[in-house]
Each structure stands twice: as structure tokens, then as C-alpha cells.
Symmetry: C2
Subunit: 373 residues, 2 copies
Amino acid sequence: MSHDARRYFDLPSPFRMKRGGELHAARVAYETWGVLNDARDNAVLILTGLSPSAHAASGTADPSPGWWEGMLGPGKAIDSQRWFVICVNSLGSDKGSTCPASIDPATGEPYRLTFPELSLEDVADAAHAVVASLGIERLACLIGCSMGGMSALAYMVSHPGSARAHISVDTAPQAQPFAIAIRSLQREAIRLDPAWDEGQYDIHAGPDDRRYPDIGMSIARKLGVITYRSAMEWNGRFARIRLDPEQRDDDPFGLEFQVESYLEGHARRFVRTFDPNSYLYLSRASDWFDIAEYGHGSVLEGLKRICIEQALVIGVSTDILFPLEQQEQIAAGLQAAGARVEFVALDSPQGHDAFLVDIENYSRAIGGFLARL
Amino acid sequence: MSHDARRYFDLPSPFRMKRGGELHAARVAYETWGVLNDARDNAVLILTGLSPSAHAASGTADPSPGWWEGMLGPGKAIDSQRWFVICVNSLGSDKGSTCPASIDPATGEPYRLTFPELSLEDVADAAHAVVASLGIERLACLIGCSMGGMSALAYMVSHPGSARAHISVDTAPQAQPFAIAIRSLQREAIRLDPAWDEGQYDIHAGPDDRRYPDIGMSIARKLGVITYRSAMEWNGRFARIRLDPEQRDDDPFGLEFQVESYLEGHARRFVRTFDPNSYLYLSRASDWFDIAEYGHGSVLEGLKRICIEQALVIGVSTDILFPLEQQEQIAAGLQAAGARVEFVALDSPQGHDAFLVDIENYSRAIGGFLARL
């Protein structure tokens, strides 16, 4: 019954990290779809947001739907009949890659907060090592969504010539203070939960285990969902509709409106499926990312160091976490770097999450771009 | 040393509330500026946001600056040399009015969660009783800011003919799902703090008392500040500036960016200055408010039941909590009701809080409107 399409790549040991730490015997989980051609020039790499696994879509080994099921597969926008598609689970994520919940070979105990400081450059380097291990010198296209878009910028700036084309989806060239504030508060909610216990909660806690920061993770997730969607969507979807009386409990401050129940459902599905320490590390890595570090403090100059032939940059006007102006910055920077750039500004109502929901418009943009490569 | 300009009005007992409860021997705190003229037709009432007290500005009895110091006083936009200005502390707030932290005369113990369900209609009715007690039949102008703007709509719809003019500042004719989601999460952060203890924390806790939900209140306040300001302001104000090393502690997930320190400062100044149960009651009352209840489910029809001569409606394009479209709804509804309406859409970068910060532009609009009355 347990389907698993993940493969694993053992990173060179030690794997040296941007901020000075190193990992020993670390590995990266990934999945692939399609077939690498003899010229090895049809590879597409997808770098993910903070929480998704490498299971972007179903396949023969794992027929369960993936997080980008509508976008990837035979005949879909990212067509696995033409492309050899790789999706990597970020280093530091608990979906198969080495992360703070993994065993430190030096101690035989989980790393927890002794995990080295993680940056998105490390996520990118680990993904690049996977691609190289598959015998691919140059990607046909590098796709990055949300946090993965920042990882993709790190990938391209650190590994010149590693990709011919790039698709940037709902991301940012640097973390801005509003996004930092949101993520900082999410981390604080986790850290202030007494059950987090300085990272010493029960790892791999099942539903009956007690020592897991449910409250902090629930607040963090709800705040995430609030910033991943948009007020406009919710006005249409939830308005002021209340729950049926039988859906409510006696708590005078309990759930009353549908929007509250929606958030509660999201939180319940998330809590206990993600390692809290890994969440903290990846969240902080997102705050740290700044392409301007590669451009003497200038975002534009940093982006100009990225050498690709063409790019598609997509953003959404309703995204409050990665606002459209940041997508415009990326487009302008890649253009200034010499790439042919297509810029698509959508007005999908779903906010930052539109790339996961408005498959029709994202398919048209991404499928069209890939078809013209 | 202890200056206090508050006066108190004892509400009729019992004071019956919208949702069925009643209060006995309840009172409302308020402050006044200026002199009521013989015709009793120069009174201006200010209804506040969720957390401010009645101390809107300094005066002879209390020379400390008030929360709208730049706006109210001799020669200022709300000119206390012309107007007799009243600011009421909302019923249910802990700044002098009867609230969940007050003693229930029936038990001799604080109400806590036995406080009756509070609505903004009750806040409005209590304020109206204060005004009537001062011998004022009709306000020259009713001003409502943020939550106070919703209370003002309740005031006018429940008490026809009680105001000649109205100034609506950064508010809403009904709570929309995005605002409900934010407030629901703030309440959840407080309620999930074990120190909240189902409302049984130490009331009037000093800094050394332990049993107060500091964590929950801190998270609630930070989330509030995030939604009261704007991403645009913070890009200019904080960018990615980091704290000096000596401002940082050893916590690997501690404060690093200036924006995080800014939020921390706001939280520290707020926590322990506001009663958590009162916060819960007022926050929930904001979610409940819906002028459409007076218009058979239609916001427009509800607003059309408000009978005033003229109105000024102000909003800010950067406000994500009370978006500009909601100010437009109010303006359109009051106009449809027959009022002469001026609508001012500002582009102050400070978001919802602009009315407290961008005194120059708010003064021009409010002062100009009042001068023409």
C-alpha cells in the first residue's frame, strides 16, 4: 500500500554550507518523471516552496496526486513526455532530505538545533549536486515556486551556465520586511509554545504523542494560509457565512464563521506532518535570502550576474507575501542580464497560492513558454 | 503625579444588551475638551478603535499626550475652542468602563468570561447614554475611527437624529473574512496561551505577577501591528536593515532584523496594559458587526437607514484590514441615504494606522470638513 517514488542522492561528505557549517553523510530526496534523452538536454528541475515534498505529481511508482498534479505529467504544461523532470525536496526539509530531525552521525541523536545554519544557497547547492549526479550539465529549464524561486536564483547565481531557461513563480529577489515580519511571527508562535521545548519535542510524534508544539504550529500555519490567499478571494468565497449550529461547539470564542473553520482545517492537516525545527530553519533561510548580496547591495546588480538565455516571470496582483513589484524586479534584472524575458502578471484572486490553484492560467503561461523552448 | 481627566457616567441599571445579556451598575469612562455652548449644538463625539482609552488628547486635568494629540485641541483640526469634544472609553474596554475585568456586583468577583456577550451596538448605546446625560440631544458631529467607525454606524442606525454630521475614519460597514481571520487568530493566540487559563489569569497583574498570557497577547499584538501598517511603509523604513550585534542575544532564532525589533517593542508596550478578556470581547464584537443586519442582508440598504445631513468618509489605499473599497461602500450608502458626502482616499504609506500617524493629511480633511459645518 505504501507507494514511494523517492530516490536519494548522497551529498559529498562533508557538505560545506554557506554560513560555515557542514553536514556529514547528508542526502537529498528527489523524484523524476519522463526520460532523460541521450543529449541530456531535456531536464527540467523544480524547486519547491517551504513545505512541499518532492512528490510534485503522480507517477508509476507513486500514483497518489502530487502538490502540482495539474501542472506536471504527460501532455500537461510541464510535459513529462518531452521533459525529464526532477523535483528535489529541499535540504533541511523533513520529506526525505537531511534536516534538523535527521540523525547526526557524530552523535547518533537527531540534530535538532545543532543542525548547521541553513541558507537557500545550501538548498540550491544540494539540488545542483543531485542534477550533476544524474549526468546533467545544463538544465533546459529551472523552475522555482515561492521559496523555491529564491532557491532558483541562488542556484543560477552560484552555478553559472547551469540552466538555459528559467521560470520564476510568485517569488522574490530578497525577503522584504513584511514577509520577514510574518515569518518571524510564525517562528515565534512555534518557539513560544512550551511543547516546542527548545527543539526537544518528540520527533516523529504520532497523533497520540504529547510532546509536540501543536499550538505553535497551528498558529504558524493559519498565519501562513492568511498570507498565502487574498482578501478578495475570501470575500467571494466565505463572505460572512456562519457555520451550521451543529458544526459549532460550546466554546464562546470557538469557531463561528466559515473562514475560521477553513483555517482550522488547514492547520489540522498541516500540524504533525511537518517537523517544527525544519520549519524554523527553512523559514529563517527565506528571511536571509537576498540576491543583492551578489550585487554589492543592489538587487538589480545581483540579478545581472545570472546568465540564462530566456526566462518567464509570473506573479499575481493579489499576492501580499511576494508582491507583484518583486516579480517585476526579477523580470527587469534578468532582462538587464541579457535574457529574453516574458513577464506575466495575473489577477487570480487566490493570492500567493494562485500557482497551486489557478492551474488554468499558470498552465497557459508555463506550458506556452516551455513549448517554445 | 497621577493625572486623570476621566469622568464616569453610571449607565441605567440594568443596561440591556443586544444579544440578550444585561449589566448592573455599569459605568462608562469619558473625557471632554472645550465648553458646551448654551444651544448645546456644538458637541462632537469620538468613538475609538479597539485599544485606545478616552484620553484622546491632553487637557488641563491631564496634560499627558493623548492617542490623537495632533488632531484634537485648541486650534487643531478638532478645535476644542469651537467644539465641545467628548471621547468615550468603549463599554467592555478596561480603561475605566465596565469590562470583563470589572467586579460583577452579583458575585463580588470579576466577570471574566461571565461578562455578557458584547456587541458594538452596546458600545454605541453606552456612548449615546453618556451624551444624553450631558444634556445633548443631537451631536454636531460623530467621529468614529477603526472599530469606533463601526460603533458610530451602530450609534446612528440605532438612534435616528442623534447626529447632524459624521466623520468615518478607516473603518468598515461589516467585518469581512480577511479581518475576521486576523482577529480570530489573535484571539486564538491568547486563548491557547496556557497562562490565559480560560480567563482565570491574575487580573490587574503587575510586571512581577506570573499568571498573565504574555505570550498570547504578544503574538496578538504583533499580528495586529503587521496588519495596522503596510508593506510599503516598511520597505522604506526598515528594508533589510539588521540590528547591531550588541542589540542581539545568543538565541539562534532571536531578533535579527529591525522590523522584528520594532514588533517586539510594540508588543512589550502593549502586553500587561490591556486586559486579555476585554480584548477577546471587543475583538469578537468587531467580527460580529454588520450594518447589513439593518438592511435585510444588504450593506447598502443598512446604510440607507442612517439619517444625517453630511458626512466625510476617509480611507487609505494601503489599509489591508479595512480596505478602501469598504470606505467607498460607506460613502455610497450614506449618499444614497441622502447625506452630502465627501470622500477622501489617501495614499499614506502607514496603512490602517495612518489616521494616527499621517496627522497632516487627516487634519486637512477632518479640519476642513468641521470648519465648513
